[in-house]
Subunit: 338 residues, 2 copies
């Protein structure tokens, strides 16, 4: 980075906040930023809450092997998207984000402004129309750490847990599978990102679109409440991979989940050319890749699936997850160990 | 640290969570940890929310010049205390914490367990009887970053903002002033912490107690709601120093705040011996030191101050903060710049 660009070390906290807040739009809150805490409406007397963090070099690289530079916009978008998705997965509607930024002094102010733009853009584009950033915290650290806590409103609905799946239920997904994992493979590859842009063949564009899926995931925010209203018995967002996350429902519900091999293959098929070019198996992406933040939900057998959901399996007696009757070779990743 | 002690790199996420959750007690929530999000009660249809972060080497050192080693317990306590304090400062009662831990793989598991104990202890000892940890996030990083978001309930009260002070109001504080700053000076000094413990003279004990004030602050949690009920016109918690925080009320309210020199001196007096030994001015600690997380509040002139509060100044026409009519030389610190 050119040394003449202003960095956060050049600004006091108040000045940096003055650069950030105007980019976040008018807060939708009973009391917005500026006091010790914000106040948000909790219309049905309940508030859904979750927290999620992105860490430089663990959750994203500032510079990938492919040459792609993660923008502040990407990090802001992803931070918002993955937090909003946790509210969606409960059948709730997001109502606020509070965001804590830990930044090296060398971080360019423009990068931080871009992060604020990414937060606001994700909230807007993903359709979280009742949500805004209502507060935050700024501090210094050796690496970039962005944490957001998110609240949501159930609007009178019963929250959909992981533990309610029953044998005989059908299993459905809404959202992409394996695209974010494919994008991670593109970013981590020695494909030259700039060359892909310079030569926009259909195949190159497909790689670029996968990378965008990794950097700017698009959880289907309307679908969580819709699934709750349609009687979903269990639900979560696929953040750690289809098999691992299906296993979480299976474990919490005390059931087995069988994923339909043909349905899984339909998700793998459009990824085949990209995977082949990168020397990967698209089934690994579909079964093991997280971060698309689609929804995995179970419904009673006689349900009409809500718009956006497609059938991908069924709930059975037993334990664990199978794909076409087989034990999957691929599992999602884990932050620690493994 | 001895290399044989298990570290977070030795455990997967699930195993580490299994070490943490039992230490946090039974969650007080409509839905506790284990799903994509928790659900808490918001009895009056509003939720107060804030977020605050502690970063290794910015907000605490693992090993101080005095030889004191910051325990996980200290970090957990301080994380909870400073977050609970933000809710207190609105006149609300804390209802939940969600906590995100970013940890180097080399962090000992015992240190993380100790952090969970510190969170639970602060919630209990500070009297946040309606609050518990309801969720969290774990991730890897190069340094320890602990972020909590906190929610609160106003229980029908009007939130007390920074902006409501009016000329003629009286200014009062509840909680210690300058003790956490004195403790920071002890920890940063070349006093030998182990030697202070080994030789528990009254003077040495005083230094140790200051250090404890820095590591384990005790915000007066009952006092925020009490101040709100007593008609406080403006309030905040003193996190960045009396003068700086008084200046925030003055600025937000469009008024001047005069702090009574004798009242300030009364807070400095018991710190004089310790400050003298460390070559510091106790007035600097009282006026400029933050992190005690006491409350600074304004009340109408004819108010009877609620229990715990003592008069420290008055609100006047004008702008800025004076002490005994003089411009203070000392100001609080700022995370960035300065």
């Amino acid at each position: 980075m050119p040394t003449e660009a202003p960095t956060v070390a050049d600004l006091d906290e108040k000045s940096l906040l003055a650069r950030i807040f105007p980019r976040l739009g008018t807060p939708i809150a009973l009391l917005g930023p500026g006091d010790d805490a914000a106040v948000i409406a909790a219309e049905d007397g309940r508030t859904v809450i979750s927290i999620d963090t992105l860490v430089q070099d663990a959750d994203f690289r500032l510079l990938w092997p492919s040459g792609y530079r993660t923008s502040g916009f990407d990090v802001g978008w992803k931070c918002a998207a993955q937090n909003l998705s946790d509210i969606n997965a409960m059948g709730a509607v997001p109502t606020s984000l509070v965001v804590s930024l830990t930044l090296p002094g060398s971080t360019e102010v423009a990068w931080v402004e871009d992060l604020a733009d990414g937060l606001a853009a994700a909230i807007h584009v993903l359709g979280a129309t009742e949500c805004s950033v209502v507060g935050g915290d700024l501090g210094r650290g050796r690496e970039i750490v962005v944490t957001a806590a998110v609240t949501g409103s159930l609007q009178g609905r019963t929250p959909v847990l992981r533990s309610g799946a029953r044998p005989g239920d059908i299993v459905a997904v809404d959202g992409s599978l394996g695209r974010a994992a494919g994008g991670l493979a593109v970013l981590e590859s020695h494909e030259d990102y700039a060359a892909l842009i310079a030569d926009p063949t259909a195949e190159n564009l497909a790689l670029l679109e996968l990378a965008t899926s990794q950097c700017r995931p698009r959880p289907p925010l309307a679908s969580g409440p819709r699934a709750a209203e349609s009687g979903a018995t269990a639900m979560l967002d696929i953040s750690d991979g289809l098999v691992r996350d299906a296993g979480r429902i299976a474990s919490a519900s005390g059931v087995a989940i069988e994923l339909n091999a043909a349905a899984v293959a339909r998700h793998a098929e459009p990824l085949r050319a990209a995977a082949s070019r990168l020397g990967a198996d698209p089934l690994d992406w579909v079964l093991g890749g997280g971060e698309d933040h689609g929804l995995l939900a179970c419904f009673p057998a006689d349900s009409e699936l809500p718009a956006g959901f497609e059938l991908i399996g069924e709930v059975r007696d037993g334990a664990g997850v199978t794909v076409g009757g087989q034990s999957p070779q691929t599992i999602g990743w884990d932050h620690f160990g493994g």
